[in-house]
C-alpha cells in the first residue's frame, strides 16, 4: 500500500493539536515548535503533491479510501484534483506563515495554537474529502474555532464580530447541508459520495437545478462573502487575531468559492446558466461596492477586510462567466488573493502589535520607521491593485477578459474596480506609510490580548519577515510566470464545463 499522503496532510495538524494540548501551558517554545512542525509537515507534503501532480490528468488523483458506513452512504474518501490542489498548497502556506507570524503571542498560547490547528485541519478536510458528509463535517470544523479565536484573542468589538461571523457562516452552511441532503435523495444514489455524484452523469431536471443552484450559491456564497451576505467578513477580520484572520480570509473564504466550483457548477449546469446574470451582477456589485466601502474606511484591518470582499467579487465574477478562462481566473484569483490578503494581514497585525493603533489617521511615516514591513505591505497592496508582474494582475486580467467575452458592460465595470482599488491602496500607503512618522503611540480602544509591550518603531527582523518573504515569493513567481499555475487547473476547469 502506498503512503497515505492526503491522510497525513489532514492528520498532521490534528496530531500536533493533540500533542499541544498535552503540553504544559508554560512551555510556549515547545508549543510553537509543535505547531510549526505540524503545519510544516502538511506544507511539505502538499508541496510534494504539487510537484508530482499529473496536471494533464483532469480527474481525481491520489484517491484514498479508509472506511465506509454501509447503508448510510457515507465513506471517508480523500482525493485531489486540479481544483483542490492549488488551494491545498495555499492553505498550507498560509498556515505555516500564520504560525510564524504569531511569534510574539503570550496570552493563552496553548489554546491559541490548538484552535488554529483545528481550524486548518477543517480546511484541509474540506479540500480533500470527496464525500459530502465529511465535506460538511470539516466545513463546520473550519467554522467553529474562529468563534473562540475571535472572542478570546480578538480586539475591538470582538464579541459582536465573533457572533456575527459564526452565525452567518452557520446559516450559510445550513443551506449547504440542506442541499446535500437533497442531493442525497434526489440523485437516486442514496450516497454522500461526491466523486460518484460528479462522475455519475446524473442529470437533474431544469427546475430542480435552478433552485438547487441558488441554494448552493447562497450557502457557499455566504462563506465567500458575496454581497449582500458579506458583512460578517470585515467585522470578523477586524477583530480576529492576525493568524486567524490570515487563515480565514485566505482559506475559508476561498472554500466558499471552491464549493460553488466543486458542487454547484458541474452538477447544475442548467441552473448555472439560469442564474448567470445574477452571479455576474453580484460579482460586479461585490467589486465596486466593497471598493467604495474601503475608500471610506480608516481602520487598516477594515481596509484589508473590505478589499478582501472586493477581491472575492472577482472570483464570483469569474465563476459567473461560466467559461473556462473565467474559472481559471477565479482559481488564480483565489490563490493569489489568499496569499496577498494573508500578507496584508500579517503586515497590519505587526503594525497593530507595535503601534497599538490601526487608525490610518493616527499612523504615518511607517516607511521611515519600518521600511521592510512597509515594503511588504506596499508590494501586497500593489498586488491588490492589479499591478502587472504580481499575481493579482493575471487573475484579474483572466477574469475581466472572460467577462468581456460574456458581457462587455460588466467587464467595463470590473475594470473600473481596478481604478478604485488603486485609489484605496494608494490612499492607505499615503496616509499610513508615507510622510513623517507620527510619533504618537496612542493606545486605541479595545485591546486584544495579543498585544505585547509597546515596541515603538521596531522594524521586522529577519526571522519575523520569513513568512512575508515566503508569501511574497509566491505573488512574484506567479505574477512573472503564471503558466505554472494555469497549467494545473486547466484540465479540471475544462471538465467542469462538460455539462454545458
Amino acid at each position: 500500500m502506498k503512503f497515505p499522503i492526503l491522510t497525513t496532510i489532514l492528520l498532521a495538524p490534528i496530531t500536533a493539536m493533540i500533542l499541544i494540548m498535552l503540553v504544559k501551558e508554560t512551555q510556549t517554545k515547545l508549543i510553537k515548535t509543535l505547531a510549526l512542525v505540524g503545519s510544516g509537515i502538511s506544507f511539505v507534503l502538499s508541496a510534494y503533491l504539487v510537484c508530482t501532480f499529473d496536471f494533464q490528468h483532469p480527474s481525481f488523483q491520489w484517491t484514498e479510501q479508509f472506511f465506509t458506513v454501509p447503508g448510510w452512504g457515507i465513506q471517508f474518501l480523500l482525493a485531489v484534483d486540479g481544483l483542490s490542489i492549488p488551494l491545498l498548497l495555499l492553505t498550507s502556506i498560509i498556515m505555516v506563515s500564520g504560525v510564524l507570524v504569531t511569534q510574539r503571542l503570550t496570552f493563552r498560547v496553548k489554546e491559541y495554537f490548538a484552535l488554529l490547528l483545528f481550524l486548518v485541519s477543517g480546511a484541509y478536510g474540506v479540500l480533500l474529502s470527496m464525500d459530502m458528509f465529511f465535506f460538511f463535517l470539516f466545513y463546520e470544523v473550519a467554522v467553529i474555532p474562529m468563534f473562540l479565536l475571535v472572542n478570546v484573542w480578538g480586539s475591538g468589538n470582538k464579541v459582536y464580530a465573533a457572533n456575527k461571523l459564526t452565525l452567518y457562516l452557520l446559516a450559510g452552511s445550513a443551506l449547504v447541508l440542506f442541499g446535500f441532503f437533497i442531493l442525497y435523495f434526489k440523485s437516486g444514489l442514496y450516497s454522500f459520495d461526491l466523486k460518484a455524484l460528479l462522475d455519475g452523469n446524473i442529470h437533474f431536471d431544469a427546475g430542480t437545478q435552478k433552485w438547487l443552484f441558488i441554494l448552493f450559491l447562497i450557502g457557499f456564497g455566504t462563506l465567500a462573502a458575496t454581497w449582500p451576505f458579506h458583512s460578517w467578513s470585515p467585522d470578523g477580520y477586524a477583530s480576529a487575531p492576525t493568524a486567524a484572520s490570515m487563515l480565514h480570509a485566505a482559506v475559508l473564504k476561498t472554500l466558499g468559492a471552491y464549493g460553488i466550483l466543486r458542487v454547484a457548477i458541474p452538477l447544475f449546469p442548467e441552473g448555472a446558466k439560469y442564474w448567470q446574470p445574477l452571479m455576474l451582477a453580484l460579482g460586479t456589485i461585490n467589486i465596486l461596492y466593497a471598493a467604495f466601502c474601503v475608500i471610506a474606511q480608516k481602520d487598516l484591518k477594515y481596509i484589508v477586510g473590505y478589499s478582501c470582499v472586493s477581491h472575492m467579487g472577482v472570483v464570483m465574477l469569474g465563476i459567473g462567466t461560466l467559461t473556462q478562462t473565467g474559472f481559471n481566473g477565479a482559481m488564480f484569483q483565489m490563490f493569489s488573493h489568499g496569499i496577498m490578503v494573508a500578507l496584508l494581514f500579517a503586515c497590519v497585525g505587526y503594525v497593530y502589535d507595535t503601534k497599538h493603533t490601526r487608525n490610518i489617521e493616527e499612523l504615518g511615516g511607517l516607511f521611515k520607521e519600518m521600511p521592510r514591513l512597509s515594503i511588504f505591505f506596499i508590494l501586497a497592496g500593489l498586488t491588490a491593485l492589479g499591478l502587472p508582474g504580481l499575481s493579482g494582475f493575471v487573475a484579474e486580467f483572466l477574469v475581466i477578459y472572460s467577462t468581456y467575452t460574456v458581457s462587455p458592460i460588466y467587464g467595463t465595470l470590473a475594470l473600473a474596480g481596478l481604478v478604485l482599488s488603486a485609489i484605496y491602496i494608494l490612499r492607505v500607503v499615503k496616509r499610513a506609510f508615507w510622510g513623517v512618522p507620527a510619533g504618537v503611540v496612542s493606545v486605541g480602544k479595545g485591546h486584544g490580548h495579543d498585544q505585547g509591550p509597546i515596541l515603538a518603531g521596531e522594524d521586522l527582523n529577519w526571522s519575523m519577515s520569513i513568512p512575508n518573504y515566503l508569501l511574497f515569493s509566491f505573488l512574484l513567481v506567479l505574477g512573472i510566470y503564471p503558466k505554472l499555475f494555469t497549467d494545473f487547473v486547466m484540465q479540471t476547469t475544462a471538465l467542469l464545463l462538460k455539462g454545458f
Binding site: 474601503v294 481604478v419 503558466k483
Partner: protein, 615 residues
C-alpha cells in the same frame, strides 16, 4: 550577437535594480556606482546595437510563451525593428545621462539607494515596453512604468504635495491604462493575437470599422493618460514634485514618451480608422494649445517645462493624428534630448537660486554666479524647443509643418503655427528671465568640484546632440523617417513662415523680458479674461478634484453609509429579532413551576379535546 547586445541593453538596468535591492542598507555609494555603471553599459550596448542593426533588413524577434488559455496565447519577448531600436537607444542613453547627473543632484540625499533602485527599474520598464513583442506584454510594462513614476514622483514622500502628486499621477494614468487594457482584451477576443507584428500587418483587415474605432479610442485613452493629453494632463505639472532628474526622465524619454511611442508603434492599425485619427488629431491639438497657453504666465521653471512638455506631446499626437507617424516620432526623439537637457539645467538653476523654482528669483541672481556654459545650453535648449534653425527642434517641427503643408491640412497647420508661436514666446521668456543679471546678493555656495563632472557631462552631451546630432545622422534619419525636407519651393515657403513666427515670438518675449525693465505678465495681461482662465487652469483641476472628492469619495461615503445603515442594519435587526423572540419565549421558561404546569395542562387538555373531537 545583436540579440546578446539587446539582452544587455534591456537587462543592464534591471540587473542594477536587482543588485541595488539586495545590497545592504548602508552601501549607499556602491549602489550609486552600480546604477550608473550598469546604465552606462546598457547605453553603450544599445548604441553599438544601433549602429549594427539600424539598416538590418529583418527585425530581431525573440519570443517565450507567457500565458495561454483556450482561445489565445500571450507571449513576452523582443520585437526590435528600427523604430523600437531608435527609441531603445535614446531611452538608454538619456537614462544613463540622467543617472549620471543624479550623482550630482542627489549627492546629499540620504535615500539615494532607493532613488537609484527605482530609477533603474523605471528605465528597465520603459525599455522593455519599447522592445516588447506583444501588445499585452507592452501593457504589463506600461503599468510598471506608471508604478515607477509613482514611486519617483512621490520620492520625497515627507512632502504632502509630493504624496498627492504621486497618487494623482498614478490614478489618472491608471484611468487611461484601463482603456488600454480593455483594448487589449477586445483585440484578443476579436483577432486572438496581440503580437505587434501581427497587429500592424494583418489585424486591421479582420476588424470592422466600428470595432476598430472602439479599439483605437480605447488605446488612445491609455495614451491620453500616459502622454498627458486633454483632459487627463493635469497630473503632469504636479509631477514636478519629484526630484529634477525624475522630471527630466519622465518628460523626455520615458513615461510620457510611452504614449506617443505606442501611437506610432500601432500606427498602421490606427491609421485604418479615419474617425479615430480625427479624434486623435483634435485632442492632440487641443491639449497642445491649452497647455501652451497655461505656460505663458507660469513662474515656476519646472512647471513651464512641464507645460511645454504637454504642449509638445500634444503637438506630436496631433501630427500622428494628421497622418505622419514619422513626424510625431522624430519630434519625440529630438524633444527627448533637449527637454531632458532643459530639465537638468533647471535643476542647476534652482540650485543656483537657492532652491527656488521661480524664474524671477533666478533673475535676481547676479550673472556672474550663473555658469556660462549652463546659460548657453539653456539658450540652445530653449531655441531648440522654439524650433529655430539649425537646432534639432527645428528639424523635427519643420518636418511636421512640411507634411501638413504638403497634404493641405491648412487648419492644422495654422493651429500648429499658433502653438509654435506660443512656444517660442514662453520658452524665450523663460530663457530671457533666467539669464538676467540680478543684483540680489546671496551668500556664495559652491558646487563641489568632483561632482561637477557629473553635472557638466550629461548636459553638455545632450546639448551637443541637440545642436549636431540631427545633422550627423541626417542621411539615416531622412531615410528612415522619410523626412519632408526636400529643398524645394514648399520647403522654403514653409521655412520662411515658421521662422518668422518663431522669431516673432522671441522678439515679443525680448520686448517684455529682454530689456532693462520688464513686466511679469507680458502681453498676456492685455488679453481680457486670459490671465483669469490661466489662473483657473481652464477649470480642469477643479473638475478632476470634484470628480475625486464629490464623485469617488461621495460614493465611498454612500457605500459606507449603506453598509452601516442597510446591510449591517438588516443583519443586526435579524439578530435583534432573534434575541427579542428568544426573550419572549424565555418568559415561558422563567423557572416558575406553576406556569409550566398551567402550560402543560392546557396543552394536555388541548390534545385530549383534539383527540376527542377528531372523529
Amino acid at each position: 550577437m545583436n540579440l546578446n547586445l539587446l539582452h544587455i541593453s534591456v537587462f543592464a538596468n534591471f540587473l542594477a535594480f536587482v543588485v541595488i535591492v539586495f545590497l545592504p542598507k548602508t552601501w549607499v555609494k556602491r549602489s550609486v556606482t552600480v546604477a550608473v555603471s550598469f546604465a552606462g553599459i546598457g547605453a553603450l550596448a544599445s548604441t553599438i546595437l544601433l549602429f549594427r542593426q539600424f539598416s538590418a533588413p529583418a527585425p530581431i524577434e525573440w519570443v517565450i510563451p507567457w500565458l495561454k488559455w483556450n482561445s489565445a496565447q500571450v507571449n513576452v519577448g523582443y520585437y526590435l525593428d528600427t523604430l523600437a531600436l531608435v527609441m531603445l537607444t535614446s531611452v538608454c542613453v538619456i537614462s544613463f545621462l540622467i543617472q549620471l547627473y543624479s550623482v550630482w543632484y542627489m549627492n546629499e540625499d540620504p535615500a539615494k539607494k532607493r532613488f537609484f533602485g527605482t530609477i533603474t527599474f523605471f528605465t528597465w520598464a520603459m525599455i522593455s515596453f519599447v522592445v516588447s513583442v506583444n501588445l499585452f506584454a507592452s501593457y504589463l510594462f506600461w503599468e510598471l512604468i506608471g508604478l515607477a513614476s509613482y514611486l519617483l514622483i512621490g520620492f520625497w514622500h515627507e512632502k504632502a504635495s509630493a504624496r498627492a502628486a504621486a497618487i494623482k499621477a498614478f490614478v489618472m494614468t491608471r484611468f487611461g491604462d484601463l482603456g488600454f487594457m480593455a483594448a487589449v482584451i477586445l483585440l484578443i477576443i476579436q483577432v486572438h493575437n496581440t503580437d505587434i507584428s501581427f497587429l500592424i500587418t494583418q489585424a486591421g483587415s479582420q476588424l470592422g470599422q466600428t470595432q476598430l474605432l472602439i479599439i483605437v479610442g480605447l488605446i488612445f485613452l491609455g495614451v491620453m493618460g500616459k502622454s498627458a493629453q486633454f483632459p487627463l494632463y493635469t497630473w503632469l505639472p504636479d509631477a514636478m514634485e519629484g526630484p529634477t532628474p525624475v522630471s527630466a526622465l519622465i518628460h523626455s524619454a520615458t513615461m510620457v514618451a510611452a504614449g506617443v511611442f505606442l501611437l506610432v508603434r500601432l500606427f498602421p492599425l490606427i491609421e485604418l480608422s479615419s474617425a479615430g485619427m480625427h479624434y486623435i488629431c483634435f485632442i492632440g491639438g487641443l491639449s497642445s494649445l491649452l497647455t501652451a497657453i497655461l505656460a505663458l504666465l507660469e513662474r515656476d521653471m519646472k512647471r513651464i517645462l512641464a507645460y511645454s512638455t504637454c504642449s509638445q506631446l500634444g503637438f506630436m499626437v496631433m501630427a500622428v493624428g494628421a497622418g505622419t507617424w514619422s513626424g510625431g516620432m522624430f519630434h519625440l526623439l529630438t524633444h527627448a534630448f533637449f527637454k531632458s537637457m532643459l530639465f537638468l539645467l533647471s535643476g542647476y538653476f534652482i540650485f543656483a537660486s537657492h532652491h527656488s523654482n521661480d524664474i524671477f528669483d533666478m533673475a535676481k541672481v547676479p550673472l556672474k554666479d550663473k555658469s556660462k556654459l549652463m546659460l548657453a545650453l539653456l539658450w540652445i535648449g530653449a531655441l531648440a524647443l522654439a524650433g529655430l534653425f539649425p537646432l534639432s527642434g527645428f528639424m523635427s517641427k519643420e518636418n511636421i509643418f512640411g507634411y501638413l503643408l504638403e497634404h493641405h491640412h491648412y487648419g492644422i497647420y495654422s493651429v500648429a503655427l499658433t502653438i509654435s508661436f506660443l512656444t517660442a514666446y514662453y520658452t524665450s521668456r523663460m530663457a530671457f528671465v533666467v539669464s538676467r543679471d540680478g543684483h540680489h546678493q546671496m551668500e556664495h555656495h559652491t558646487i563641489s568640484k568632483g561632482l561637477n563632472i557629473a553635472l557638466r557631462v550629461p548636459v553638455t552631451v545632450l546639448g551637443l546632440v541637440t545642436v549636431a546630432g540631427v545633422w550627423v545622422f541626417f542621411p539615416w534619419l531622412k531615410e528612415f523617417f522619410q523626412l519632408h525636407l526636400e529643398l524645394n519651393r514648399e520647403f522654403w515657403l514653409n521655412f520662411g513662415i515658421t521662422t518668422t513666427v518663431v522669431l516673432t515670438g522671441i522678439g515679443i518675449a525680448y520686448l517684455y523680458f529682454g530689456r532693462k525693465t520688464f513686466s511679469e505678465k507680458g502681453w498676456v495681461g492685455f488679453v481680457p479674461g486670459l490671465d483669469f482662465l490661466i489662473a483657473k487652469k481652464f477649470y480642469l483641476d477643479i473638475f478632476w478634484n470634484a470628480v475625486m472628492q464629490k464623485g469617488v469619495y461621495g460614493l465611498a461615503k454612500a457605500g459606507f453609509w449603506s453598509e452601516a445603515h442597510i446591510v449591517n442594519a438588516a443583519v443586526n435587526n435579524v439578530g435583534y429579532a432573534c434575541v427579542r423572540g428568544g426573550k419572549a419565549v424565555t418568559k415561558l421558561q422563567a423557572g416558575e413551576v406553576q406556569r409550566y404546569i398551567v402550560i402543560a395542562v392546557l396543552v394536555i387538555v388541548a390534545v385530549v379535546l383534539y383527540l376527542t373531537f377528531r372523529g
